[in-house]
Amino acid sequence: MTSRRDWKAQRSKTAFLALEDGTVMRGYSIGAPIDRIGEVVFNTGLTGYQEILSDPSYCGQFITMTYPEIGNTGINAVDHESRGVFVNGFIIHSLNEPENWRSDESLAAFLKRHDIPAIAGIDTRALTSRIRSKGSLKGYLGVTGAVTEADALEQCTAWAGLDGQDYACKVTCDKMFRWDDISDEASYWGLADTLPPTDLRIVAYDFGIKWNILRNMRICGMDVTVVPATTPADAVLAEKPDGVFFSNGPADPAAVTYAVDNARALIGKVPIMGICLGHQLLGLAAGGDTFRLKFGHHGCNHPVKELETGTIEITSQNHNFAVDPDSVDKSTIDVTHINLNDQTVEGIRHRQEPMFAVQYHPEAGPGPHDPQGLFTRFRDLISQA
């Protein structure tokens, strides 16, 4: 009988991942024929590779999926989290052909179409353990054969990395737009009839905003205008918003100084909610510091406790930096949520002004829906202000 997959050809399409600690792992190329540098992180989610790939917060990074069977459900038209793919590369153990009633395209085709290099055949557990013990590592993904392993090691070691880098400016939208194109999807999920009319105007800063945040705000009756990362506070206030939102985004919050300045100018003038990078920016604006976690939180199973109620929610997370709890002024900022795995800060609230933010992703996509009520809390915050 004829072989359905050409394993021999696959075995011969060799590729490698070189790490700054000198390790070289070998596999085969399954994405675009482009060599690239990036910071290697791992994500422990069992599902959601499409949302992860299209999440702009991963810009500058290579994502390693710890779950070995990837590509199972292909890529569909409605589960995207942004307009494109901003990851630098993708690392998996085993690539599959898609089988799902919603699948429009295979993962391999999608990666190639978006110019994303990817490697399979990697012992992702070995790689994950290495990152766990050494922290996030700079890496070089060599898939074309044009670069030697030795050169690759040299290049990735010399790379500046993500510390002190503003990547939000690389992924933000280039001009203001209104989010209302949910209609197709809403009807697909049977939501069209249940969508309430919008009665609140929100301006959302796009540092790499995930569409599920926008979808959730729309479901909560919010009419959202998305603005570029550098939009000055005055311009935001000129829109006369009922609330302002600080989005998630990639890399180092401390480098996005203009956003911290804008946040400082807006706190107290308008109700504010922040998520992920937005949480860090608001923490910085309130006088706190941020620091880099050893290997970050990337997954769908992080337990977060709300300190006031004791409620535990399983949350979706994706961040490398966190707010230092000792750095914030306790007279203005309350820590509201902590991560039960490592006790890091997962949420803050301003004691005097209408402002709260969370480090995790209540919008899910991917991940559990446990904390979706936070968007309603944003409504409440606005109505009480």
């Binding site: 009988m1 004829t2 072989s3 359905r4 997959r5 394993w7 021999k8 075995r11 792992m25 791992f42 422990t44 989610g45 069992l46 599902t47 959601g48 499409q50 949302e51 710890t66 779950y67 070995p68 069977e69 199972n72 459900t73 569909n76 589960d79 153990h93 085993s94 599959n96 052909e97 089988e99 799902n100 009633w101 919603r102 012992d123 992702t124 557990r125 070995a126 994950t128 353990s129 766990r132 997954g299 769908c300 199973n301 992080h302 337990p303 406790k305 004791g310 409620t311 535990i312 399983i314 039960l340 795995n341 899910a364 996509g365 991917p366 991940g367 559990p368 829906h369």
Partner: protein, 764 residues
């Protein structure tokens, strides 16, 4: 919220004898619960009628009653022991039903015994089909359309309303679907409804729209008294709806759902848990999804620890029964540590970086009159689980763990029946679910049938079929190497064979060589498996529990310690003639070794057992019990010896080959095992000792058997060597039947001598 101080003495009910649908998994959960409750200082009173269980060992409870599981006896124990509370959710359906009877008879109230874990109204709401359906409708979840009836006339009236045949008939309050089935026409409908009404203790059956062929999923959920709810594991059935979950090949985690779809299912599972009102502990919720459009329906929920909880515990490393017991006495999830990481709490959702496959074990060969067809009534008698990096690897390991003489997914010379079948016969084997269907799928792919065609016939999801087709085709890639010598030259191919889970035996078969030579070739090239940890967190945190599986990769996490190590080989899957008793022996052997200061290394493949609990032994290897897999572990650990005599027939069969490969067999030496197990040697021994025996002889071929029978005279008793519990043992009165049965006996004993005795009729 700390543990409760208002209760001191807690009673647990075990699950009684092993029956189809309820095996040693409740010994595993009950033993964990006993340990957990006593650890917290509670006095535990245990009642169970099955003495072959670990939990009934005197040291596991403060008071142990080996008594029949009836309400009169339980009431008597209530009188003597005056327990404060009864924990009914860890003893399977038996304990749950008994609890409902105790409640119904007012016995709990009379003796002031509080139900903890799940209240009676909760159990009723989950178990009573009409209450359950109403509850699901209330929270906006769909269930298959159905009508509950109590008489035949009511049943007949539903047929048209539900859209005609086929229709599913499910009796209320029965175990493993006893008395139920699918009716394709009016005659079958009448028969099954009649049986169902009689089997149901409340004479109730549910008539339901048929969703056969849909994708089937199960989520294991845990809740604490502060309403924190987590999903431990998702499981997807390879066999679509129509085959009882206990008879299905199942895979963890779910493979074919996007995150959106999975989260919708997760939301639904948590809603079900909260609406039914299970206060604390574990439950499972089953779902079906229409593969063409994604319509999701809830099938059922069990408000208790189940067989799938045992599987989920072993698949993730999260000890569901232990945590459930602690939640029942008042703890919340964030107050309990995750044993494996020690630094993170139990209030998280395990994530895994491997694929787990469970394959049921059937024993149709012992019941020649029962048809090898699978349906809504469970027929499997045991199961095996395996862990691999990928589905391919995991499935192949699971199949060779089954102890049915298979070396993996085919490629072992045992598929003539399917390979020689004509297309119509093969299609029939695919269409009607049966215990060997997977091997028929392989045969179909070997003759180049498309995945679409096989999907059409089997309903198995294309994702699984793609992998099975890959494997079927990959055989050509291996045999294409031409010879073992050539394979040795193509290391990338050799490595990939092993990554795809091919055993040395399969590779040997495909290259017309021997298992020993393949192993030697791998040894020469250094192609060896590595051992990875089952750690609940995909390596995100350091794990402290030594629970391993093999795979092929770069990173071996099982580093042998300095102490002297002894390996214990477990019993593998349950089968008729081998239940829980061998696990009992293995667990005690492990305890004894630990007391003596040895490091005990357990190897087993049965997820229902106490031996595969990660704290029973110093190290646990969840691996197939084959020569190849066992030798690797023995060498990796540098064991001083192996104990084969407590695991039943499975390890005994390996003893000789293990010894030949340098394994020090402790206890009874293999030659003595051979002398007893091989009927010919045993006969010589008996003769030598001058003990009288019936006239007998041994034979390997049919003709030899006929010659022996002619010599000693009919009737004769035919017995194969090295098999369990009288498999293929028959009394034969005529030569024609002897010839027929010899074929079967030879198949069961794999070229070993068959003993033929003169049969003493009416002997005492």
């Amino acid at each position: 919220m700390p543990k409760r101080n208002d209760i001191h003495k807690i009673m647990l009910i075990g699950s009684g004898p092993i029956v189809i649908g309820q095996a040693c998994e409740f010994d595993y959960s009950g033993t964990q619960a006993c340990k957990a409750l006593r650890e917290e200082g509670y006095e535990v009173v245990l009642v169970n009628s099955n003495p072959a269980t670990i939990m009934t060992d005197p040291e596991f409870a403060d008071q142990t009653y080996i008594e029949p599981l009836t309400i009169d006896i339980i009431e008597e124990i209530f009188r003597c022991e005056r327990p404060d509370a009864l924990l009914p959710t860890l003893g399977g359906q038996t304990a749950l039903n008994l609890t409902m009877e105790l409640h119904g008879a007012g016995i709990l109230e009379r003796h002031g015994v509080e139900l903890i874990g799940a209240r009676a109204d909760v159990i009723e709401k989950a178990e009573d089909r009409s209450l359950f359906k109403a509850a699901m409708t209330k929270i906006g979840l769909e269930v298959p359309r159905s009508v509950s009836v109590h008489t035949m006339a009511e049943a007949l009236a539903t047929v048209d309303d539900l859209g005609g045949f086929p229709l599913v008939i499910r009796p209320g309050f029965t175990l493993g679907g006893t008395g139920g089935g699918i009716a394709f026409n009016a005659d079958q409908f009448h028969d099954i409804v009649d049986t169902g009404l009689r089997c149901s203790p409340i004479s109730e059956v549910l008539i339901e729209e048929c969703i056969n062929g849909w994708k089937e999923f199960e989520l294991e959920v845990i809740r604490d008294r502060k309403d924190n709810c987590i999903v431990i594991c998702s499981i997807e059935n390879l066999d679509p709806m129509g085959v009882h979950t206990g008879d299905s090949i199942t895979v963890a985690p779910a493979q074919t759902l996007t995150d959106r779809e999975y989260q919708i299912m997760r939301d639904a599972a948590l809603l079900v848990m909260r609406e039914i009102g299970v206060e604390t502990g574990g439950s499972n919720v089953q779902f079906a999804i229409d593969p063409t459009c994604g319509r999701m329906v809830v099938i059922e929920m069990n408000p208790r620890v189940s067989r799938s909880s045992a599987l989920a515990s072993k698949a993730t490393g999260f000890p569901i029964a232990k945590i459930a017991a602690k939640l029942a006495v008042g703890y919340t999830l964030d107050e309990l540590p995750n044993d494996i990481t020690r630094v993170t709490p139990a209030s998280f959702e395990p994530t895994i970086d491997y694929v787990v496959t469970k394959v049921p074990r059937f024993t149709f060969e012992k019941f020649p009159l029962s048809e090898d067809l699978l349906g809504t009534q469970m027929k499997s008698v045991g199961e095996t689980m395996s862990i691999g990096k990928t589905f391919k690897q995991s499935l192949q390991k699971a199949l060779r763990s089954l102890e049915i003489g298979r070396s993996g997914f085919g490629a072992d010379g045992r598929d003539q029946r399917f390979e020689s079948a004509d297309d119509d016969a093969l299609a029939a084997l695919l269409e009607l679910p049966n215990s060997m269907r997977l091997f028929a799928v392989r045969a179909a792919f070997r003759r180049d049938w498309s995945t679409e065609r096989v999907h059409e016939l089997t309903g198995i999801d294309g994702w699984f079929l793609n992998h099975l087709a890959d494997l079927a085709a990959y055989e050509d890639e291996i045999s294409g190497a031409g010879s073992l010598a050539a394979l040795r030259e193509d290391v990338a191919l050799f490595r990939q064979c092993k990554e795809f889970g091919y055993s040395d035996r399969q590779i040997a078969f495909l290259l017309d060589d021997t298992e020993d030579h393949v192993r030697a070739a791998r040894d020469a090239l250094g192609i060896h498996p590595v051992y990875s940890l089952v750690d609940t967190c995909a390596a995100e945190f350091v794990a402290h529990t030594p629970y391993y599986y093999s795979t092929y990769g770069d990173f071996n996490e099982s580093v042998p310690g300095p102490r002297k190590k002894v390996m214990i080989l477990g019993g593998g899957p349950n089968r008729i003639g081998q239940g829980i008793e061998f696990d009992y022996c293995c667990v005690h052997a492990s305890y004894a070794l630990r007391e003596l200061g040895y490091e005990s290394i357990m190897v087993n493949s049965n997820p229902e057992t106490v031996s595969t609990d990660y704290d029973t032994s110093d190290k646990l290897y969840f691996e197939p019990l084959t020569l190849e897999d066992v030798l690797h572990i023995y060498r990796n650990e540098k064991c001083s010896g192996a104990i084969v005599q407590f695991g039943g027939q499975t390890p005994l069969n390996l003893a000789t080959a293990l010894e030949a490969n340098g394994v020090q067999i402790l206890g009874t030496p293999p030659c003595s095992i051979e002398a007893v197990e091989d009927r010919k040697y045993f006969q010589e021994l008996v003769d030598k000792l001058g003990i009288r025996q019936t006239p007998n002889g041994t034979a390997v071929t049919v003709d030899e058997a006929v010659a022996v029978a002619d010599r000693i005279g009919y009737p004769v008793l035919v017995r194969p060597s090295f098999v369990l519990g009288g498999r293929a043992m028959v009394i034969v009165y005529e030569e024609v039947y002897l010839r027929k049965y010899m074929v079967e006996a030879a198949a069961a004993a794999e070229n070993r001598a068959v003993l033929i005795d003169h049969y003493l009729e009416n002997a005492v």
